[in-house]
């Protein structure tokens, strides 16, 4: 009786998982199939088999000066990469500063960061745009990178991680050995935090890669646009550019890099989140 019950559960679990995986993968499949078909083919309706226009579409995407997709991918990599590095490093630094040292404003600072944790970026978008314009940083990639230094959510994650995995006695030991404070952080704390940094680096990278709202406000020139802005302008492409095969190809090209990165690092994502979450 118990045996049939559990084997029924196994079968049921597999069915649900396969169904969900199908949903997740189906869209990728359709996207890639469509990217291989010409506009005229697409007009005739959906087909499960790939077409012959893969290279043709790829060439169209690569050579279109009004949609500099490869330039966009490069910009996105720069912005996301820098953001990920700055964000994880400074969040760790802030978390360590609040975790390892006793000082007057400590509690107030911690409370403040927790309070701003959930502030939506859109609320200050207007002011942010004006500020950036005044600073002469309009149409520059810098305002997309620098603010990531102050990321309350990443800070919070780092802080919990430190609580669970950095004994203060280790810091004391380093001091006795004559290690400077900054040196201690870089040489001893950072290596301990590696798993947390890896996870947050990937999350920040993905978040920044997919960010649309702020870049759309800040970026003006074509050669500084990031991938999400280019994708958004696709739907606005008017009659001259209306080639659906090309549009699908552009989306494919835009998501392939990040999927490769994810597949390579998926081990860390799944294992890393587990590490961070065990705290409770």
């Amino acid at each position: 009786m118990k045996k049939t019950g559990s084997s029924f559960r196994t079968v049921f679990a597999h069915i649900v998982l396969i169904l969900l995986s199908f949903m997740c993968l189906f869209f990728f499949y359709v996207l890639i199939i469509n990217a291989t078909r010409s506009h005229a083919d697409l007009q005739k309706g959906f087909s499960a088999l790939p077409g012959k226009n893969f290279l043709e579409n790829l060439k169209n995407v690569a050579n279109d000066g009004s949609f500099p997709m490869f330039r966009g991918i490069l910009n996105s990599i720069v912005v996301s990469g820098c953001s990920a590095v700055l964000c994880t490093y400074f969040s760790s630094l802030t978390a360590y500063g609040l975790y390892a040292y006793e000082f007057k404003a400590r509690k107030a600072a911690f409370t403040f960061i927790m309070a701003i944790l959930v502030m939506p970026t859109q609320v200050t978008a207007m002011g942010f745009l004006r500020l950036v314009t005044k600073m002469g940083l309009y149409d520059s990639l810098l305002p997309l990178i620098i603010p990531s230094i102050a990321s309350p959510a990443v800070f919070y994650f780092m802080y919990s991680y430190l609580q669970s995995s950095l004994p203060l006695s280790l810091v004391e030991a380093a001091r006795i050995d004559g290690s400077g404070e900054f040196h201690t952080f870089n040489r001893i704390v950072i290596p301990i935090m590696k798993p947390a940094i890896a996870v947050q680096a990937i999350f920040t990278f993905v978040g920044s890669w997919n960010n649309y709202f702020v870049p759309a406000l800040i970026i003006q020139s074509k050669n500084k646009m990031t991938v999400p802005i280019l994708i958004a302008t696709l739907r606005g492409a008017d009659y001259m550019n209306f080639d659906m095969g090309k549009i699908y190809m552009m989306i494919t090209v835009a998501i392939v890099p990040i999927i490769i990165v994810y597949l390579l690092l998926s081990k860390y994502i799944i294992a890393g989140v587990t590490l961070g979450g065990v705290k409770e």
């Binding site: 679990a13 969900l20 006793e102 959930v118 230094i149």
Partner: protein, 318 residues
């Protein structure tokens, strides 16, 4: 010992300084600026700038008279449609993935695949959905060729269809992420507890409801709050799916889309006032997050101690 750490205190200030400097420049100054302009009439007519003229609370009042609350309700509904299935599925999957007795083949494969949709930028995902579910799109062709439907379904022509699509997209994009979070929480539970429950003859359903669920409550609430914040900020998906108009009948217009339409007409004053309202709502949510994450009593031991003390007192009195 205490004296020593005071000596090191300046390092603490130094280490948290970059965070605060950047925060004050890039977030606090804009916030003050935004609040200031909310009291002004300030927009662009054609390519001429009107204002800024001080008009007091007028922007706030006219927003109260606008459909802002309706858009708030839309946002809530859209969030619920996506969130409820998301949390249910995520809980079930987390339980399955962490259940040692349940042998799932290719567990690693499934774990990787469920997170994939989260990688696609919302705008590209929405664009894909838009083409897939258009009246003459692939989904309709497949359903028709399978003979399940006779006439194509007009997904984006009805309130229900559009909202379901948006909800479905949000579900698909985030359930993997939530599953991984919850999985981490479940794995944090000591194996002893599960073993003890096995000895007591718990079946898997009982174990889930009486042991797993209560023990992962903190992470569950964290997921809930972060999802509410995400829901409040919902923008890309409905914006692109409905071409910025929230059709049909503006029923899929979210608060941030409403904000965006003011930003589009360069109506700095009105957008500022709307931002302040959004800030207040976020502030209330902040408070809850703070209360919850600052809970020093995750395992209930202090509460239990208090209760014991209370009973002690009662006994003494009685």
């Amino acid at each position: 010992m205490k004296k020593k750490s005071i000596n090191y205190g300046k390092w603490g200030y130094l280490f948290i300084l970059p965070f605060f400097i950047i925060y004050f420049i890039f977030s606090l100054i804009p916030l003050v600026d935004t609040v200031r302009y909310s009291f002004f009439e300030y927009f662009r007519s054609g390519i001429k700038e009107i204002g800024p003229n001080f008009i007091g609370m007028e922007n706030y009042i006219s927003l109260l008279k606008s459909d802002m609350f309706k858009y708030g309700a839309n946002t809530l509904i859209l969030w619920l449609i996506g969130f409820v299935p998301q949390i249910v599925i995520a809980l079930v999957l987390a339980a399955w993935f962490t259940d040692a007795r349940l042998k799932i083949r290719g567990k690693q494969f499934f774990k990787v695949v469920i997170y994939l949709p989260n990688l696609i930028m919302a705008s590209a995902f929405a664009l894909l959905f838009f083409t897939m579910f258009s009246t003459n799109g692939p989904v309709n062709s497949i359903l028709m060729s399978l003979g399940w439907i006779k006439a194509p379904i007009d997904f984006m022509g009805s309130v229900f269809g559009t909202r379901s699509l948006i909800g479905f997209m949000n579900f698909l994009m985030w359930f993997g992420n939530t599953t991984i979070m919850l999985m981490a929480a479940v794995m944090g539970i000591s194996m002893d507890v599960f073993e003890a429950s096995d000895l007591d003859g718990c079946n898997s359903i009982q174990r889930f409801f009486y042991i797993t669920l209560p023990l992962i409550r903190p992470i569950l609430s964290y997921t809930l709050i972060t999802s509410i914040i995400g829901g409040l900020q919902m923008f890309d998906v409905p914006q692109i799916l409905t071409n910025g108009q929230g059709n049909p009948d503006r029923t899929s217009m979210t608060l941030i889309m409403f904000l965006n339409s003011h930003l589009k007409s360069k109506n700095y004053g009105m957008a500022g006032a709307l931002s302040v309202y959004l800030f207040i709502v976020s502030g209330i949510l902040c408070f809850f997050v703070y209360r919850m994450t600052n809970d020093n009593d995750p395992d209930g031991s202090k509460k239990a101690a208090k209760k014991r003390a209370k009973e002690e007192r009662r006994r003494l009195r009685g």
